[in-house]
């Protein structure tokens, strides 16, 4: 048996390859592979959707598919996504308009007015709303909100219009409870936490010095918010609103459960409509014709493009409106 190596020899021994350049090389390659996988996924999302939808896009044309107003999977097999595009844009814009100021109010209240314990609670609850699954909101919408809106809001208004302003009926539309307005309300509810959380983060990033400078001018709390805080945080707030808009565009389940699913224009105020995600959810599992499936995939591709534009726009605005200067030179 060989003598055991001395401590000195042990310490000076050349470490195994893994502990020299080879280990680091392998690790770097591995990590890069993981990174490439993520990148590959993002790219393949676009490529695959385009590829799968290419039959529809080829048949109806890139713009033709987008602005085609007929969606007929049963008889003529004609597909155009315009009604869903309109449905998506209108519901998302309306939901953002409905939720923006309440969400901003929550952010301001939590960041500026509420004592610390209360703002912790508010922040946690806001995050909790964001965590409630879409389908749970959906089932509540189907069995509680929609019937309630129908009985206390849509029907009375419809009755009133039928009696005294019949010319309004086509605008109001069917008051059955499942339709555009219900979807918008639920959508607004669901994007509030995103707008609120992103605005709150933007407000919290406003330097203390800006606030104090305004206080020192003899401003009240609200004046400090209006004069120093909101202008400084505007890029984050606007970018947050756009990101929330992006969320609204992609929100699927609750909308599909509540919007009533009507595939033809025109849509009216209370009556059923459809959005791009909702039509995919409703028809994907039943699509038997190749062209039908391809058309749904193509809708997915356009949805990808719209989401991409919205996300890039948010990033651009964040940068563009970012407050330059104001810090010490």
């Amino acid at each position: 048996m060989a003598a055991a190596p001395s401590t000195y020899e042990l310490v000076r021994r050349t470490p195994p390859l893994l502990y020299r350049w080879l280990g680091d090389r392998i690790f770097a390659v591995l990590v890069t592979l993981f990174g490439l996988t993520v990148m590959g996924l993002a790219i393949s999302l676009a490529v695959v959707l385009f590829w799968e939808g290419s039959e529809a896009i080829k048949t109806f044309g890139f713009w033709g598919f987008l602005i085609g107003t007929t969606w007929d999977p049963a008889l003529t097999l004609t597909f155009g996504t315009f009604p869903f595009l309109i449905g998506t844009v209108v519901t998302s814009v309306a939901a953002l308009a409905l939720s923006f100021f309440p969400a901003l109010a929550v952010a301001i209240f939590s960041a500026e007015y509420a004592p610390r314990w209360l703002s912790h609670i508010i922040d946690a609850l806001v995050d909790l709303i964001a965590a409630v699954p879409s389908v749970v909101v959906g089932i509540w919408g189907i069995f509680v909100l929609a019937p309630w809106l129908r009985d206390h809001f849509y029907l009375p208004l419809y009755m009133w219009a039928a009696e005294s302003r019949p010319e309004l009926l086509p605008i109001i539309g069917s008051p059955m409870g499942y339709g555009m307005t219900t979807a918008v309300i639920v959508l607004a509810l669901m994007i509030v936490p995103f707008t609120a959380a992103l605005s709150r983060d933007a407000i919290r990033l406003v330097p203390k010095a800006q606030r104090e400078a305004c206080w020192a001018l003899g401003a009240t709390r609200w004046e400090v918010i209006r004069m120093a805080v909101l202008p400084y945080a505007r890029s984050g707030i606007v970018a947050g609103a756009i990101l929330s808009f992006g969320r609204a565009i992609g929100e699927t389940m609750a909308v599909a459960m509540l919007i009533g699913n009507k595939n033809t224009l025109p849509f009216d105020l209370f009556g059923p409509a459809a959005t791009m995600p909702s039509v995919i959810i409703n028809e994907f599992r039943e699509a038997v014709e190749n062209l039908h499936l391809s058309s749904l995939m193509a809708i997915g591709f356009y949805l990808f493009l719209i989401s991409l534009i919205v996300n890039l726009l948010a990033a651009y605005i964040q940068r563009k409106m970012m407050v330059a200067g104001g810090r010490s030179a």
Partner: protein
Amino acid sequence: MHNQESTAAGRHAETAPAATDIRMETRKLSVFYGDTAGVNDVSLSMYNKKITALIGPSGCGKTTFLRSLNRMHDLTRGARVTGQALLDGSDIYAPKVDPVTVRRRVGMVFQKPTPFPTMSIYDNVVAGLKLVGIRNRAVLDEVAEKALRGAALWDEVKDRLKAPGGGISGGQQQRLSIARALAVEPEVLLMDEPTSSLDPQSTIRIEELMSELKKQVTIVIVTHNMQQASRISDYTAFFYVGDLVEFNPTAKMFTNPNQKRTEEYITGRFG
């Protein structure tokens, strides 16, 4: 600690001008953060149209003391002020006194320039006036020009009043902050190390400006730069771990201080 205060008060009684010249005065003012005192029982007089410099090693409470003079501590969670701070003889911490009004009479300029970056130079200057609802263009124009002239910035920016307030140099930004504070015509101007983030050239401009300004307002300045204190101030107060160690006319303070610790600090043996 109590002793300290009474000796300090006694000391400036000998050298002080007539009491009617006191613009602002604290009596046994303490500031607590939670349970720890950041400023201990400080009694100090700030004379009308003079510059009072507050010096001391960092963490000695001089900025904390300064911020108690326009109730900025109201905004800090867990901060509490006891004692009195008299402005023209009435306590700004008295029950019914409104902090917003106090801050209009006692303006403040901070360590770093704080122009509102989304506003133009012009809008920055008149920000304090717009708060109280003054929208009359002629009035605003007049005040803006006067304040900018007062802050020795007018000639440099008069051709680009609509340019963003964050787009000028650091020294100009600081003078803009001063102009904004001056526009509401405060009686006292608090300055918290106003030149510490500026280059020597800009520092000199601000110092010149201060000696010009003291013809109109009472200035209290915190500085960590003893040369600056000796150059510009009429009175100097030396703070050490929350206590006011010595208060004297600047000339005396820098040539023949009463306290050993003051001398040690001024000669650079600690701090």
